[in-house]
């Protein structure tokens, strides 16, 4: 099972809701490493770690990290070139 220790990007929805008013897990993101675009929910999310680490399903590069400390929550987005959401509701 050492190769199957991740969840889907979906599972980061709660932590990301602290930062964003819209649901980011349904947004399309581009990986800064390999250029792949995909719905954030399909990223690989590693949670058995000191923080949440989302990685690109194509190249395993880090897309995003969330760390919750006693007083603050950190969000590192440097692995994403962009996030895209639709302007039309629903």
């Amino acid at each position: 099972m050492t190769q199957a220790n991740y969840l889907d990007g979906n599972a980061a929805a709660g932590a990301l809701s602290e930062f964003f008013a819209v649901d980011i897990t349904a947004a399309v993101g581009q990986c800064n490493g390999c250029g792949r675009t995909g719905v954030f929910a399909e990223a690989r999310l590693y949670v058995d770690a000191p923080g949440l680490v989302a990685r690109c399903a194509g190249c395993d590069g880090v897309l995003l990290r969330v760390v919750t400390t006693t007083n603050d929550t950190y969000l590192d987005l440097r692995g994403l070139t962009y996030l895209r959401i639709s302007n039309s509701p629903g």
């Binding site: 889907d8 809701s17 929910a41």
Partner: protein, 236 residues
């Protein structure tokens, strides 16, 4: 964003799983398949949080009530508390609903294929309930459990399976009830027999432990299903 809900009721589903009914003031409503985060705080301030799928569908009449079904993870930190300790009347901190990808909406076109392993059936049950309220397209559920006693929502699934639109197929991996010859994991044959064909244009939702989801998603793609129409939710 965290808010305090009150436990309205608890209901034993299996030896290791329990449904918790929560009363949440000003619940905004949710989509079938969404989850929420639960946070526990010890007296000294130590906190632990986990995500759980919402098991109920939302409607105006159910407005402030939601259900979670929690399976106890051996050696877990949060689930044993939720399954064994929490009781009606207790407060519980929650954050949600969240998640906009692993969801089914009534206006969605095409058949709905649900494939669940173990407590991975929880968000699929919310989808079945929402579909029973408002859906018009055919739905199939392929539900993999270890043994007959592991099935959660037994009576519910019987009710749902009585509908013409809904087809429920149980798969037993360790031990089957009398009259069921097949014991074993979901394989290519079962996918061929019980899952909508790639050309049916179904949206497929797969939820379960990571290795289960991995295997099923691979089988679906190998059978010619478009990966873009397969949505997954792994829970480790």
């Amino acid at each position: 964003m965290w808010q305090v809900a009150t436990v309205a009721d608890v209901r034993r589903e299996t030896e290791t799983a329990r449904t918790i009914v929560l009363d949440v003031p000003d619940w905004p409503g949710h989509l079938a398949g969404q989850h929420l985060d639960v946070r526990l705080t010890a007296e000294d301030g130590y906190r632990a949080s986990r995500s759980y799928s919402i098991a109920s569908a939302w409607s105006v009449s159910s407005s402030n009530t939601i259900e979670l079904t929690v399976e106890q993870v051996p050696g877990g930190e949060v689930s044993p508390y939720l399954v064994e300790v929490l009781k009606a009347g207790d407060p519980l901190e929650i954050r949600g609903p969240v998640g906009g990808w692993f969801v089914w909406k009534p206006e969605q076109e095409g058949p709905v294929q649900l494939i669940g392993g173990g407590s991975g059936v929880v968000p699929l049950r919310a989808m079945l309930r929402a579909h029973a309220d408002a859906g018009t397209t055919p739905v199939r559920l392929l539900y993999s459990v270890r043994r007959p006693e592991s099935v959660i929502y037994v009576s519910d699934l019987k009710d749902l399976a009585a509908s013409d639109d809904v087809d429920v197929r149980l798969v037993y991996t360790r031990e089957a009830p009398a009259g069921e010859p097949r014991v074993g994991r979901i394989d290519a044959d079962l996918i061929e027999q019980y899952v909508f064909k790639p050309e049916d244009g179904a949206t497929t939702y797969v939820c379960g432990p990571t290795p289960f989801v991995e295997t099923v998603a691979d089988l679906l793609v190998a059978a010619g299903h478009d990966p873009a129409r397969v949505r997954t939710e792994r829970f480790g």
